[in-house]
């Protein structure tokens, strides 16, 4: 699990090390460190870290450890890597395709093919959070059923 944590560190030697200790103790793997000197506020410099943790629990423990070390955490968030999900909807009216609203799935592209028979087909490419795949698929199945269309999602 990947997290971004932005800390307010005193701009003097050894401050970063205090923050890194609880991260290392909880198995955090640091991907990047960025000093945002342009956002400096008085003696403090925001430092943004991207860290991988094996679980939410280990992240929470590191988070508490940083706070206990007297370091202010400006912001923290989980970074979700998105993946593509391509779906065909056979028999879906392209006008209805744009009405589709699925929580956790962002539409990247829609393509419709001119019907040769009585049923056309619409392709929709979504960008989704992998952890939400099953829920997204379930919502898409419901949408397809309500639209009287056949859903063909990518594996």
């Amino acid at each position: 699990m990947r997290f971004r944590v932005t800390l307010a560190l005193l701009d003097k030697p050894g401050q970063l090390l205090r923050a890194l200790d609880p991260i290392a103790r909880n198995g955090g793997n640091i991907i990047s460190i960025f000093h945002e000197r342009e956002r400096r506020a008085g003696d403090y410099v925001p430092v943004s870290l991207v860290i991988d943790f094996s679980s939410n629990e280990s992240f929470n423990q590191a988070f508490e450890g940083i706070k206990r070390a007297g370091i202010e955490i400006i912001e923290s968030e989980q970074i979700f890597e998105k993946k593509n999900l391509t779906c065909l909807f056979v028999g879906l009216d392209p006008q209805n395709a744009i009405k589709i609203g699925i929580n956790g799935a962002e539409i990247k592209a829609i393509e419709a093919i001119k019907p040769l028979s009585n049923k056309g087909c619409v392709k929709i490419e979504f960008s989704i959070i992998p952890e939400r795949l099953e829920e997204v698929l379930e919502e898409l199945r419901k949408f397809a059923e309500q639209s009287n269309a056949l859903l063909i999602p990518s594996i």
């Binding site: 391509t86 065909l88 093919i113 019907p115 028979s117 087909c121 056949l150 999602p153 990518s154 594996i155």
Partner: protein, 333 residues
């Protein structure tokens, strides 16, 4: 080992043919190896000294076999009266009540006879009951041929993935629908024409709905779920969507985007059979009547097997189960 073959259709006849080809080898493993009974839907031939498979292979007709009379009696009576060390249950699949295969298997296992089957019906309806019956009576129930024909699905997991946990299984489990979808993809023919071609080639079941509506693949999903994932699944647990609705527009859009549409059976949290977009370079993306099965394991990761899901190649699975039974018998004695 005395063997009975119940069912003398396409598979039964090909089994007899390959038994003659492997005859010397089988006799080396077990000098007493012989097939003492072969039954079809009308009756059976029985010879306690062993049926001459070489002669039978030529005529392929039980009634014209000259060395033993043809008895117009049900196979169920035969397995009740005579003892066999191994029974091949190869009667046609019936997923409504599993008969006559279910009774044949129940009776054989109850009497301590090892069973090898290619018949999905009994396993779909009564997997856990039959496995428990085999265990109670200290005999084997092997069914490699029931899923993906010649592809060694169960043997692989049983013999080669003993330390792994299978997390998910997905695959193309029905060759007929794969043939239809491949024809639509590569030749641009309509669903109706591809279906008619499949029927003319004898690839469909008697009731083609069994293939195209995903029932056959769903039966295999149930067997995989029970046998490999330890579930207690029944056919109604599988969410099924067949390939009837797939038209040329869908095939064309999929193709343009680097995908092929395939009927995929899945065993994970849910059991499902549905059309899916499979990337053209994905290991599961095989064409024609081929089947493919992918296991996602906790240690080994992804393992994909590809092979013939039906036809005479299925005899390979039956023979593998026979060799397993012969070796198990040898250890026992």
């Amino acid at each position: 080992m005395d063997v009975a073959i119940l069912g003398f259709g396409f598979l039964g006849k090909n089994l007899v043919k390959y038994l003659t080809i492997r005859w010397d080898e089988l006799k080396r493993i077990d000098p007493n190896f012989k097939v003492t009974a072969i039954a079809n839907s009308k009756g059976y031939i029985y010879d306690s000294n062993g049926i001459d498979l070489f002669q039978l292979s030529e005529t392929q007709d039980l009634t014209s076999y000259s060395k033993a009379p043809f008895c117009f009696e049900q196979a169920a009576i035969l397995i009740e009266r005579e003892f066999f060390d191994c029974v091949f249950e190869l009667t046609p699949t019936n997923v409504k009540n599993g008969e006559p295969g279910l009774s044949h298997i129940r009776k054989s296992l109850s009497r301590g006879m090892n069973v090898i089957t290619a018949n999905k019906g009994p396993l779909v309806l009564a997997y856990n009951e039959l496995v428990s019956l085999a265990k109670t009576n200290d005999c084997l129930l092997l069914f490699e041929a029931t899923v993906a024909g010649a592809v060694p699905v169960f043997s692989l997991v049983r013999e080669s993935l003993q330390g792994d946990k299978v997390i998910r299984i997905q695959g193309i489990l029905n060759g007929t629908t794969n043939y239809i979808l491949s024809r639509m993809h590569y030749e641009g023919v309509s669903f109706d024409i591809a279906l008619r071609e499949a029927q003319e080639k004898g690839l469909t079941e008697r009731d083609f709905a069994y293939d195209i509506d995903g029932i056959d693949a769903a039966c295999k999903v149930v067997i995989l779920a029970n046998a490999i994932m330890g579930r207690k699944a029944v056919l109604s647990d599988v969410k099924i969507s067949g390939i009837r609705g797939i038209n040329e527009e869908a095939i064309s859009l999929a193709k343009k985007s680097g995908y092929a549409i395939k009927l995929i059976g899945e065993v994970e949290k849910d059991l499902r059979v549905s059309p899916r977009l499979v990337p053209l370079n994905h290991p599961l993306c095989v064409n024609g009547t081929l089947n493919s099965v992918q296991f996602i394991c906790d240690i080994a990761g992804e393992i994909t097997l590809v092979g013939h899901g039906s036809g005479k190649e299925t005899v390979s699975a039956l023979l593998n189960d026979l060799y397993t039974t012969l070796r198990a018998q040898a250890i026992k004695s």
